[in-house]
């Protein structure tokens, strides 16, 4: 009887499992302590692991892509090349038009200066909609700066700046709200982060927002942040629910430009659990 009791007791609190768990937990608490007291040392130590993580994620993505049908992929590449050529032409002509207008109106303020930062960790590694970048207070980064991706796409706001690194909370973080516009007629909406890079917004049916409409955030002018990919509505409700996909996938962001955010971006920041 006594032996049986001991066996059950061991099953509940197996010494091996517990001691290992306690050691690991103590080690992690030390890591947490270092993270809080010496954030720069911590980031410098873990940065190589994050870089390895980026390589692993890239490798996994390539492997996954390799299983897709080659014919579909080549057709997709061809289509993207055509789209790219068209967009480049449009972009060139628009840039010229803008330059002419700036010259005429005298509003050319030059290219805004920013701090270029490499991304150390990004979703899905981070889990939260957070980017960790390798530029910090030493480089001039301060909390509240806005982060822009390729093409000037607004991505998020610097929430924490350490000496040599910073954390950027993406606009897509669950519950994060920002004032935005939908479509070419600039219908005012409240953009709500859904996590995982996605957004949503509620708008009146009468507003006439349709699938494919661009969503803009205020910056210098209106900056495209996403496109409407689905609209959900109920016949009895005067409102409809917009599902918005980001134009720049946060999962593949490798660098960001950090600049002082325009005041409008702070209209309604409010993370919710």
């Amino acid at each position: 009887m006594k032996k049986t009791f001991l066996s059950q007791r061991n099953a509940l609190l197996s010494p091996g499992a517990l001691s290992l768990g306690v050691v690991v937990l103590a080690g992690v608490l030390v890591v947490l302590f270092v993270r809080i007291i010496f954030p720069s040392v911590f980031i410098q130590t873990v940065a190589p692991l994050w870089r390895l993580g980026s390589s692993v994620s890239e490798g996994l993505h390539t492997l996954q892509s390799g299983f897709k049908n080659a014919t579909i992929l080549s057709a997709r590449v061809e289509q993207l090349e055509n789209d790219n050529a068209t967009l480049m032409l449009e972009n060139t002509s628009l840039a010229e038009k803008l330059r002419d207008l700036d010259r005429l109106l005298g509003s050319d303020k030059g290219v805004p200066v920013g701090i270029l930062a490499g991304v150390l960790a990004r979703p899905p590694e981070t889990g939260y909609d957070v980017l960790v970048v390798d530029a910090g207070e030493r480089d001039g980064v301060v909390s509240g700066m806005a982060a822009y991706g390729a093409g000037g796409v607004p991505l998020g706001i610097v929430s924490v700046a350490n000496a040599s690194s910073a954390r950027i909370t993406l606009f897509s973080a669950a519950g994060f709200e920002a004032a935005a516009w939908a479509g070419t007629s600039r219908i005012a909406i409240t953009l709500v982060g859904q996590g995982g890079g996605a957004f949503a917004a509620e708008v009146s049916k009468a507003a006439g927002v349709s699938v494919g409409d661009a969503i803009f955030l205020p910056g210098p002018g209106a900056l495209v942040v996403g496109t409407v990919t689905r609209i959900d509505s109920e016949s009895a409700s005067p409102q409809e629910y917009l599902r918005i996909t980001p134009v720049l996938n946060p999962l593949s962001v490798t660098w960001v430009l950090l600049r002082t955010a325009s005041r409008e971006l702070f209209m309604q920041p409010g993370p919710k659990p």
Binding site: A11, S14, G21, V28, S159
Partner: protein
């Protein structure tokens, strides 16, 4: 040996693998070492948590919940399989 390797792997996974995969490894390691999910959760929050993204550190909370569940499961399940 297996237990140690899996625990180490679950900690490293937080750095190099996407979150869902790291969570899966942590859940698996809970079978052998109930405290590991809590450790993994605290490590993940040390690395990635920021107040402006979420009000509460979700990884740590879920890690604690899983650790607690793992203790209960180890109590009620026939333990001869789990034992070394």
């Amino acid at each position: 040996m297996m237990r140690g390797a899996l625990t180490l792997f679950s900690l490293v996974a937080v750095f190099i693998f996407p979150a869902p995969l790291a969570i899966a490894v942590a859940l698996l390691s809970a079978v052998f070492s109930p405290l590991t999910p809590l450790a993994v959760g605290i490590l993940a929050d040390a690395l990635y948590y920021t107040e402006s993204a979420y009000v509460v550190p979700l990884y740590s909370l879920w890690g604690a919940v899983v650790a607690l569940l793992a203790f209960f499961v180890r109590r009620f399940v026939a333990t001869s399989i789990i034992e070394r």
